[in-house]
Symmetry: C2
Subunit: 559 residues, 2 copies
Amino acid sequence: MTASGVSVRTGAHALFEVLEQWGIDLLFTCPGSTEAAVLDASIDVPAMRMVLTTHESIAVSAADGYARVTGRPAVAYLHANVGLANGIAHLACAASTRTPMLVLNGLKSTEMQNRGGFTTSPYPAEPARQYVREARVLLETGALAEDLTRTIAATLTEPGGPAYLGLPQNLVEAPFAGPVPAMQRHHVSSRRRPDPAAVDAAAALLRAARAVTIVAGAEIANDTARRALGALAARLGAPVLIEDRRTMTAAGILGDDPAFAGVYAPEHPAVVASDVLLFAGMPSFTEFEPLRTPVVPAGATVIHLCSDAAEVAKREGVDVGLIGNAALALADLLAALGPGAATNPSHRETAVAAARTKREGHRTAMRARYGESPLHPLVACNALAECLPRDAYVVGDAVTTNGYLADAVIPGSQREFLATGGGSLGWGMGAAIGVKLAKPDATVVSVTGDGAFQFGVQALWTAALLALPIVFVVIDNESYAAVKAGIKRYRRRGGRPDGDVFPASDLPGADIAMISRGFGAYAETVASVVEIAPAIERARAFDGPSVVVIKTDVAHTGP
Amino acid sequence: MTASGVSVRTGAHALFEVLEQWGIDLLFTCPGSTEAAVLDASIDVPAMRMVLTTHESIAVSAADGYARVTGRPAVAYLHANVGLANGIAHLACAASTRTPMLVLNGLKSTEMQNRGGFTTSPYPAEPARQYVREARVLLETGALAEDLTRTIAATLTEPGGPAYLGLPQNLVEAPFAGPVPAMQRHHVSSRRRPDPAAVDAAAALLRAARAVTIVAGAEIANDTARRALGALAARLGAPVLIEDRRTMTAAGILGDDPAFAGVYAPEHPAVVASDVLLFAGMPSFTEFEPLRTPVVPAGATVIHLCSDAAEVAKREGVDVGLIGNAALALADLLAALGPGAATNPSHRETAVAAARTKREGHRTAMRARYGESPLHPLVACNALAECLPRDAYVVGDAVTTNGYLADAVIPGSQREFLATGGGSLGWGMGAAIGVKLAKPDATVVSVTGDGAFQFGVQALWTAALLALPIVFVVIDNESYAAVKAGIKRYRRRGGRPDGDVFPASDLPGADIAMISRGFGAYAETVASVVEIAPAIERARAFDGPSVVVIKTDVAHTGP
């Protein structure tokens, strides 16, 4: 007997039973009538929090943010072919970050799908298929619990990633008999250690190295992996860099870690000074446009560790590749190295000190520019960083400004930084909702450009509904600066005149603060550094979402 | 030598040359850096109007509206995998209305696609494939003009529909030599007449009929087909109905046509009184949920004419199916019937008079309710209809209210009515932009619900940029009424208690007028009938987009 007083246990009830077993107590959705049974059954499951969004892109990005911060699977339940379509762009991002996300897709009754009924399509899973690890459509009610169980398990199987299950309306509405699979018997750890021969080979290279520098990727951005990395870096006397903005979706180590020495670049002094580079827990370098310069200095020995075999030796070759779980592999490496001291103990000290000096110089230079007008986004990001709590979660989705932002908010702090691995604007505003729901006590700050704001604007509605005190910062240059930058690069490549006409790239006229207030947010607009800190303070004091629009130089088009 | 002073003619220039040949002078886009060459080349093509949108869904729906009203192909140029994804939901709608829409998709350089570069995907065309008639990816610059030519031709080949062409950045940027295909040699009319045997069989049925009723579908909604239908209906003495809201994407005939007798339903008196029904220029009945009742009265003889063979005899069988161009087929039918008079001349008169009487009764009943509060959406739609110009274009995307709206605005007027054949919210606001650009002198009114408003909200930005005086009416019931209605039906079907709890279905808190003002629109909110006409008048007087929010009964969940 269910709580609603109805004795029929439906497929929808079984669905919630499976989710409950796996500890999933949030469901992000933008429903349609195909989800009627699920919505109705949710009344019987008070422990399940249904999070309503007003656009599927928000459901997907919020689930992404939640799953990335907790490491636990999150659910986005999307409606029919059109709802799924609206979620695909951010699903592509979740695929690139290997987020354990379950995309459930309410489909029309099996009776009418092949008759071309409303919002049906011949191949429901097709738009999602290339971005997920599993894509199945439920074929009978009796299989619902086991199909769902397998789909959840797929999201968690290292290297992890989204998975899709289509759920026809009639099959979810029908009575469901029998037990659901016991999670304990299906939750199998897929953390794997790399080939010991590869570990030994890597250890030999590290032992013989003159100086080692480590680049910590997003797979290191959790306590277990960070501890393992910290121990290895100490043993090697290696400074640790975070990924550059091309691949950085999370800061592998915190900016106040004693080994932190800045952001990776082939010309970084610590990289130049090293003969062995260990890229740990990160994908291959992602090209924005075909790269014409080497991603590592000539002659450097490269060890690359990643849980995703497809990312190792994908473009450049490696000297040793390690495929496996980051924490386990780093522990194996440490064990294989055995006791001993760093060959070059000053290498790390030098790099960390140089990074600190550079950072302080940069900060001084920035402060000297605090009075300038119009505001350069680089200056705006530095001023912003000065007034954010040192342990905030910063979700960066600011395109041309994202590199400035990461450089400003990470070094010297304990802030977690999340970025998208895709390029779908608006991801950050939805992701911030998921982060805040995962970390209710943390200060969560979303930073987007004004272009991305229009893509993620519906996040304000959900944040207002749930009274989530997220600070949404909008770097407003009234343009698609990345498009202008692309046009400039194109003109340079082809020796074309670099005029000041940039068709279809300007975004004048939107009063972002007013739009935000319309959604129920607290909002203000600032245009100078001196206004930023007080605005952020007022924003943080609001019991719900707030928006701080920082007007920046419209002529600037990125680094 | 191009106008920008550069002598290199690129693939992008060839692209514009092809579009120009086909008379395409508008390009809807939301660009990224992959489109740099196209944006730059557009400077050399002043006749091409680049319409910037701030979300791909608007580019696609605006192109859809433009193409549907003009019958000419329209272009949506989308950026990379994520931009395409954002356009897919409305592309599904365009597929259902067989809109001649060209989806161009800027892809990353071929050099890096297989290396998994940023915003690449293994199968770029896959999300679009099931919604388009052609889906190709350009493989070399030299083939650009011919690939594009074939893709445009595909959109126009009856029954028509969207087509996709992926355009890698490097291939579009490269020099292009040689001529582009002469449009005159590739623009081949695909209008076809149906099998003469089928025409004769249909004519025989019509000749022998006691009474014929015609249902005019969206394929009739153009001058040529309407003239042909008018002549046939006069010869047969047949009243003409428009499609019911399940399939109606355009009113086949105008509401002030002397043959107009209302909206199709199996129980419509004119349908009940007929022994032969001619469904002309429309798809098969689309099921929202599996239909349990017949779509035509038992014993009725059915003739179904459609340009899309897949739509005839798709679910129900037919007595005679006619596959071909609507205007040509109707002329063939008239010719096959030969001269003569209607068997039953009073049938049409009776039906038209009955429809008029019913309409007048309805209008009186509505007026009697003009004082009620809260406002029923049916009453709101009728009051709205009274103050809109009799020749307005009404784009309806109001979900549970759309049937009320069509019933209110079409009968007795010359208004063109456009609706979506899909179910992707927000379509209407973008489509209205396309309609207004196609018909600059017409009054264009978009009507959406408050749910759909959040999906199409970015349309306001483009409408403001172009100062398009479109009136966006929002029927604001602060809920996803269709979802609530779905939950109610589900509870009824399963004998579940119909409580008043509807999880994830309420949309409180958005101040739609304020959001709209933030985008640069004129906006006001009304909650009573007496306020509607003055608000519409002020809205129409504004030199740019305007928004009239009509607050309606939050407890109402549709027909």
